[in-house]
Symmetry: C2
Subunit: 274 residues, 2 copies
């Protein structure tokens, strides 16, 4: 039997492929990775189960990291699906899972789908020209990591755009709840374009020697790509930090190369903030 | 009314999204970009039209570049779809089309789908770590462009993987047919991993000073990603050029970074040629 990694794409339930839907409907069990993140976008379980015609079993990060072996073993006898928002390889390679599957002799099939990594093409920026992708984490009072900024500079120095994925916190526990061993979780929260831009400005201010990048460079804020209300705004870092409202999550941020093709420039201008 | 850019994903007809299929079925007209490339993979028009429940109108590159204005105008009155293999922004931004649509007041909606740019995650290489994408062209007796190689070196020097898309020739005319003004076209042809590897080895031999890259570096050949018979081979450039048979098109080539994560390394080893 087969263990299927099924990408759900971006947007709503109908963004699954016909092939993916047919597979889900004949699987014995259907797991949903990071299911809480999806539910926070306005889906409810009943709606998903009605569309898939199957009950859904939640598989949070802890589950995927610690109990996936058991699920893989199930697929020695039955077809099993693990649903993943976006493309199965968009956010993580799932290499661990693939290697463990091979070790116990489970055959894995991947149903690809759209990912934010390519959907950003809707900004008009040439996908060929993106350098490595960075993740911008939430800063706290005493933890302000900035190693991602180095990667942005490398991309800029080589004429490449940078897609910055913004941090998501799902099923996090407060220190108090951890100490009291209460199984209560914080509300999911999502780093916004405004917060990310503020953090970048702070990093720039710390590195005064850097003359290439300042708060007046133009960047692209994107929100809810693939949804009906997707939003793209071309503005300065400063504007994105303090003036632009990108609306509901999920947000991402693009630092375009300083060397833009005229068509890229024209497309970006059509998304200008002011 | 709306002009829809509908991604078809990789693989067969059922790789379209449910949303995309629903849209096609209610569109007045359905155009198919680079339709000849798809047909060469074993589809026939009847099969597609039966699945989509709609007649398909061929839109080759010439058509999209020269006659798209007329199609865009049609969508002022009717819903029109343009089908694109992969993601609508995978191979080209279609910025031209989007800008022209805006000029004549046509609203455009994009239905995203899987693209080779993210599907390469199935090799185990971290997608975050890919630098800019290069295209390797067919060489002829007197035209051997090698500017793409510089980009591979930049990516390597910065610890990034490079996806190399290999040239496709569709609806090309022989010089003889052009001169005689005969509307006859050559059979579609596809640059193979073997040919691409040979071209790269030739470039390396020309640049003897370059000690970092030689014919013994390990690369990844990939073929028919997303199809049931997809093939991934981890081998040296030399082996890929002269020993490995990747089978039918479409092929692509990956030059991995020299700095691999242990999990990347383990996944690649599982695809070793020998």
């Amino acid at each position: 039997m087969v263990f299927y990694l099924v990408g759900l794409g971006l947007g709503d339930v109908t963004d699954i492929t016909v092939k993916g839907l047919n597979i889900i409907r004949r699987c014995k069990k259907v797991y949903f990775e990071n299911y809480t993140s999806l539910l926070s976008f306005g889906f409810d379980q009943t709606q998903l189960e009605k569309f898939y015609e199957r009950p859904i079993i939640e598989a949070d990060r802890e589950f995927v990291e610690q109990k996936i072996e058991k699920v893989l073993e199930e697929s020695l006898n039955d077809d099993i699906a693990l649903l993943i928002v976006g493309d199965p390889f968009g956010a993580t390679t799932h290499s661990d899972l693939l290697i463990r599957a091979r070790q116990i002799g489970v055959s894995v099939k991947v149903i690809h789908n759209a990912s934010i990594l390519t959907a950003v093409g809707c900004t008009g920026l040439q996908l060929y020209n993106f350098g490595s992708t960075v993740s911008i984490p939430f800063w706290t009072d005493n933890w302000e990591p900035d190693s991602f900024f180095e990667k942005i500079l490398i991309n800029l120095n080589n004429g490449m755009h940078t897609l910055c994925l913004l941090d998501i916190k799902i099923k996090e526990q407060s220190l108090e709840n951890i100490l009291r061993k209460r199984n209560e979780y914080e509300k999911p929260c999502f780093l916004t374009c405004s917060q990310a831009a503020k953090q970048i400005i702070k990093i720039i201010e710390r590195n005064k020697r850097n003359l290439v990048v300042n708060a007046d460079i133009f960047v692209v804020g994107i929100a809810r790509i693939g949804w009906d209300d997707q939003k793209i705004v071309y503005a300065t870092l400063q504007q994105l930090a303090f003036e632009v409202d990108m609306g509901l999550p999920l947000h991402s941020l693009i630092i375009p190369s300083f060397e833009l093709h005229p068509l890229e420039k024209e497309m970006l201008n059509s998304f200008s903030f002011k």
